[in-house]
């Protein structure tokens, strides 16, 4: 596993200090560059681990759900590397808005199935992957892409992303002589955030998980049970799961990993939310000031930092740049009308 992370995924990922944007915001801003991993996001950390486990369990096929396509691409990549079959379920809405990643998955030899049920986004892709898995469990491993689902997934996926927080902690201490004052990451299911937080949860660092306003499970949900976990969940007065709405397909999930619900409940982490328009502004801001095109998911974290900058003045702020934005460029061309 360590060798794969080093020689295939490209770990450790670097830390980039944003001098221009930091000066503009009046903070010291550090980015953990998970976007520079092979396949372009943090997702590869978890997928390589699960694919190795699947091999060890004697399974030759992987199924996965994907929202933005980053987890699907990572799973298809691991399947290609380890000579396994791969099928990725993706909401039909997301297949349209993430066409580039659909093509990448196909190039990698995976079969991509557009899910037409329910809201036709990430939660429905999870349903369909689970339905496949219960029928094929003897040969198939469900390579779940976030810190959610039934035990042991939330724990296992966190452990595979722990490397993000551990690297970042050592890098911050080397660079700052201390842990950062604030660690910020976007939260859909919450895998990149829990990876980052795991490095600092026992430190004084303030932990901030940023949700989309239209999918704020911690911010606006109540405890519920779906997909094999009990966690904050957007639902109606009868417990029907509601649809999430966000500009980023990767965060369009009405639930959240149970460890985030726990961290919120005990007050160890906070979960503000940001609007699509704040995200669009942050996406452009990072490109213009630092020459980095971020994924729309990760732009949620930056959007909160921009909003909170006055109260963060002079602080060391570490943000997980969980993915790169190539996949979002076509969508942003439409949004920005250019």
């Amino acid at each position: 596993m360590d060798q794969l992370l080093r020689t295939y995924a490209g770990r450790p990922s670097i830390i980039t200090e944003c001098g221009n944007l930091g000066r503009e915001l009046g903070i010291r801003l550090l980015l953990k560059r998970e976007d520079l991993n092979h396949t372009g996001s943090h997702k590869i950390n978890n997928v390589l681990g699960q694919a190795l486990l699947a091999k060890r369990m004697g399974k030759h096929r992987l199924v996965a759900e994907t929202g933005a396509g980053q987890h699907g691409v990572a799973t298809a990549t691991a399947a290609a590397l380890m000579s396994m079959e791969c099928k990725v379920y993706m909401g039909a809405v997301d297949v349209t808005r993430q066409a580039l990643n659909v093509f990448r998955m196909k190039l990698l030899g995976a079969q991509v199935e557009a899910v037409e049920s329910g809201s036709r986004t990430l939660k429905d892709a999870v349903n369909e992957a689970m339905r496949d898995w219960v029928a094929t469990v003897e040969t198939t491993h469900y390579c779940l892409g976030s810190v959610m689902g039934p035990h042991p997934y939330p724990w296992m996926v966190r452990e595979f992303h722990r490397v993000v927080g551990e690297e970042a902690r050592a890098q911050c201490i080397e660079l700052l002589g201390d842990v950062p004052d604030v660690a910020v990451a976007c939260v859909g299911g919450g895998s990149n955030a829990i990876g980052l937080f795991s490095g600092f949860v026992d430190d004084r660092t303030r932990l901030v998980g940023v949700e989309p306003a239209g999918g704020a499970a911690v911010g606006r949900g109540v405890p519920g049970v779906v997909h094999g976990m009990r966690s904050f969940l957007l639902q109606d007065e009868y417990g029907q799961v509601q649809e999430a709405h966000s500009i980023s397909a990767g965060l369009d999930y009405p639930g959240v990993g149970p460890e985030h619900s726990h961290l919120a409940s005990i007050g160890r982490a906070e979960y503000p939310n940001v609007t699509d328009s704040e995200v669009i502004d942050a996406f452009q801001l990072l490109a213009r000031t630092e020459g980095i095109i971020t994924a729309l998911e990760s732009a949620h974290a930056l959007a909160w930092i921009v909003r909170a900058a006055p109260e963060l003045a002079g602080r060391n702020v570490l943000m997980n740049l969980s993915g790169r934005g190539d996949k979002d460029v076509a969508q942003m061309m439409d949004v920005l009308g250019k």
């Binding site: 469990v137 405890p223 519920g224 639902q235 009868y238 417990g239 029907q240």
Partner: protein
């Protein structure tokens, strides 16, 4: 496990089994157009109990037919409250069970949900996404309210798990017929009778096979081993395609096949 006396549905099932009758439990999605008529037609055609689905937004155990039925019912405005209200008007003589997903129970709260079932005259509950290890809050509330909780056993369950499932089961043990979701299949899976036989060997609680029992011939085949069958997608498809009378005709056909034992 508590030494609680069996509930009304289980007592009835045991008596019918002792008389040589094979048990037939059709499933109808609550809130679908014509669903109450379908329940009455099924009861009149020889069902021994009827399972009423309370639709959930994310029915992960269900295949396309029941997914579609659930979505239609929800789009038609069905809620757990509206369905239980309509149950009170059914006036059928066979026991009624509800099938729903755990968030419906969790959201209402186990005690409150159990009380709602009792008030509606429901005898039993089936909650397929509630594993044995997490079942205590619901089962305690259900036992206290005298609602029989049917437990499901999967074909992948190891031998040492089956007695624990059977000990916790009230009404009957739901022997899942295959690895996969609900829906009609061309043939009865070999796993259907294999698991039913494993369960029959370790429990006296009635064992019914459900999931993938798709027509009268497959029902007959399953009940060579099992005490009965649950039939869902084949019933619901007829309700959606042809209406409540077609459900009655179909249940009568299956009844005749089972009575040929």
């Amino acid at each position: 496990m508590t030494a609680q006396a069996p509930g009304a549905m289980e007592v009835g099932f045991r008596a019918k089994r002792a008389s040589g009758r094979k048990l037939l439990v059709p499933y109808v999605t609550g809130g679908l157009t014509g669903w109450q008529l379908a329940v009455r037609a099924a009861a009149a055609a020889g069902a021994d109990a009827i399972e009423i689905g309370i639709p959930f937004s994310d029915p992960v155990m269900d295949g396309p037919i029941i997914q579609q039925a659930s979505q239609r019912a929800l789009e038609g405005g069905a809620t757990p409250v509206s369905i239980l209200r309509e149950v009170r008007d059914l006036d059928v003589s066979v026991p009624l069970a509800v099938m729903t997903y755990y968030n419906t129970v969790h959201h209402a709260g186990p005690e409150r949900f159990a009380a709602q079932l009792v008030a509606a005259g429901i005898a039993a509950a089936i909650v397929p996404d509630l594993p044995l290890e997490e079942a205590a809050p619901w089962c305690t509330a259900a036992d206290a309210a005298r609602v029989e909780t049917v437990m499901l056993a999967a074909p992948t369950a190891p031998d040492d798990r089956l007695p624990r499932i059977a000990a916790r089961a009230r009404g009957f043990v739901y022997s899942v017929g295959l690895l996969g979701v609900t829906g009609e299949r061309a043939r009865l899976a070999a796993s259907a009778t294999a698991l039913a036989a494993r369960l029959k060997a370790i429990t006296d609680v009635p064992v019914l096979v459900g999931v993938g029992v798709s027509n009268e011939a497959q029902a007959y085949e399953a009940t060579r081993v099992a005490d009965g069958v649950v039939m869902g997608a084949s019933v619901v498809r007829r309700l959606m395609e042809a209406g409540p009378e077609a459900v009655g005709d179909y249940v009568a056909q299956v009844r005749a096949a089972l009575d040929a034992h």
